[in-house]
Amino acid sequence: MAREILQGIAVSAGVSIGKAFFTNRRRRSVSFEIIPPGAADSEVARLEQAASDVRDDLARARDNVPAELRDHAAIINSHMMICQDPKLIRAASQRIRDHHICAEWALDQAVEAIAAAFSAIEDPYIRERVQDVRAVAERIQTRLVGRHAEPMRPPDERIVLMAHDLTPADAMGLPTVKIMSFATAEGGKTSHTGILARSLQIPAVVGVSALEESVADGDLVIVDALRGLILVDPDEAELADYTDLKYQFENYQKSIRRQSTLPAETLDGYRIDVQANIELVEEVPQVLDGGGDGVGLYRTEYAFLNRRTSPTEEELYDEYSQLAGLLSPRRVVFRTLDVGADKMLSEQSQLEEPNPALGLRAIRFCLRHQDVFRRQLRAILRASAHGSASLLFPMISGLHELRQAKHILNEVRAELDAAGLPYDPDMPVGIMVELPSAVLISEALAQEVDFFSIGTNDLIQYSLGIDRGNKHVSYLYQPLHPAIVRSIKYVVDSAHRMGISVCVCGEVASDPYCLPILLGMQIDAISIAPQAIPGIKHILRRTNMEECKELLRDVLSASTVSTINRMVKETIYNRFPEELTFFSSMLDQDD
């Protein structure tokens, strides 16, 4: 048995075995000391020296940024500017002189003063820049305490990079070819470390709270970024097992990549489209390389975030037409603005909504702010002349909303006709089915649109009445709850009766245990995260439609979610026992 097995969150899949190397550890608590009279000058000098050292470290890190991470280098540049900002160091120096406190304490106070000033800023992007100030101050504190006095030594062999928290500068100060994997004590599913690791395609586990206490530099560790484990000082048997697993995983990755451009077709010839959910044009190459059949959900919110004024029609048109052109002849589905709840536009953030998830969001927001909506519709319509575009309205709760939205769309079409601007007159128009009300009237809705897209993430939350982000009730987030399975089935049947197609987007579609049930319903397409496409296509190509239908029948006859989960897990696991070790499932949480 390993000396210790630590649990964290896997954010970039894979396995690696190597020696641990810490770039930073949690600093000790700040010292709060009063300095003797006359010591202020030397204390200020100590602070300035520390800041200047950190600036030099950052400059070195920036100059060594490898070409593939150039985009991240701008972050280091702003950290350098923060490091020499008069608001930080001069303000802290003033505090040393005025209050006769030590440099650490003064710096801490200066940071808190900046944090207080920034917390009043309305723009959420600017407000969050306080994180950068804290990251820089943390480096200066480390210098002040005198640890890591020597410059970060580049390792002479490939290492497992460990850190309390990994800032971009930390990660980029090291040659990336030497990093086998990451592990950090801080961080969650969406942290920067995960993004970085996925773009470098190396395994990463974050949120390993006991990491610093349990691992020393040079310890042999296994990073299991399939299950989110760190094995410290493993024994011979574990080493043998993991060497084997690593080999299998790498082979598996290669084989699914090789086969990813084959059609998404079951063994008995049932074919669906496997599309991608994306929000940036930059993600298109990953979609195409992974064998995606276009983009089933383009989230259009990004261009509207972090700014005070809405983007112009021309800006949106540039973005949308570029996307449509790049993907052509594959299709791209533009979902109109889905702001509210978690993603506030600054115009909207002034609304005091006690319950934003049930508030003025998505299509409701657009129908209220028609200037923004019309501008977006014009841009999407104009982009439709450059490729195969479709339009998708989110959060439709009833026929009236749909008719209002379509009425505005027709007015915008007439404007474009009058202006002589080209667009695709046959651009398909669909709706997101993600509210229980839309499920129940899906047959009526299907008569007025060209396709449905079932947003399972929201449908589960609204149907089961739970907020997934709320840890007290997240155990109730059950994708295979009988009510959810029946809802999806009902929507698919309504759509097919009316002769329109159905796409399922949401995590359910990329869960290898849930996918066969959706297939059994004879859905037409799924839309999933781009990195999940090769693996899901591989599973799909070895699935049998008749078995999926049989499994669906069994699931529909069960009345509790635990029965369903047990039944599904056994059936699917027996089908793909080896492959499934490389997947995580939403069903795992209730074990």
């Binding site: 701008a74 540049n77 702003s78 900002d85 008069p86 309305e122 820049r129 972090n306 700014r307 005070r308």
Partner: protein
């Protein structure tokens, strides 16, 4: 369409406009402060009656100036005119690296 540099009692001033899409976010703010620090003159940036230090990235960020915002640059000191010319050119070029 460069705005003229004007002489006032408080030093030289020039009006600039934020032309880049995302406004004065971290990257342009860093670049502005970096360039401003190269001059000996005291340099300030004003918006809606609030004036901040143009050599401080944190001050610049705190304006949260969006695209289209008009700001006043003010400089006091020997190389103020040169500084204002240089910084207003940065705004016109949307802070692109040369």
């Amino acid at each position: 369409m460069q705005e003229p540099i004007e002489e006032t009692q408080e030093g030289l001033t020039v009006t600039v406009c934020v032309a880049n899409d995302q406004g004065l976010h971290a990257r342009p703010a860093a670049r502005l402060a970096q360039e401003a620090q190269k001059f000996g003159a005291e340099l300030f940036l004003a918006m809606d009656g609030m004036e901040v230090d143009a050599k401080s990235i944190l001050d610049i960020l705190s304006l949260a100036a969006a695209k289209g915002t008009r700001l006043t640059l003010r400089g006091v000191g020997a190389d103020a005119r040169h500084a204002l010319e240089h910084l207003s050119a940065l705004f016109r070029n949307r802070f692109r690296e040369e």
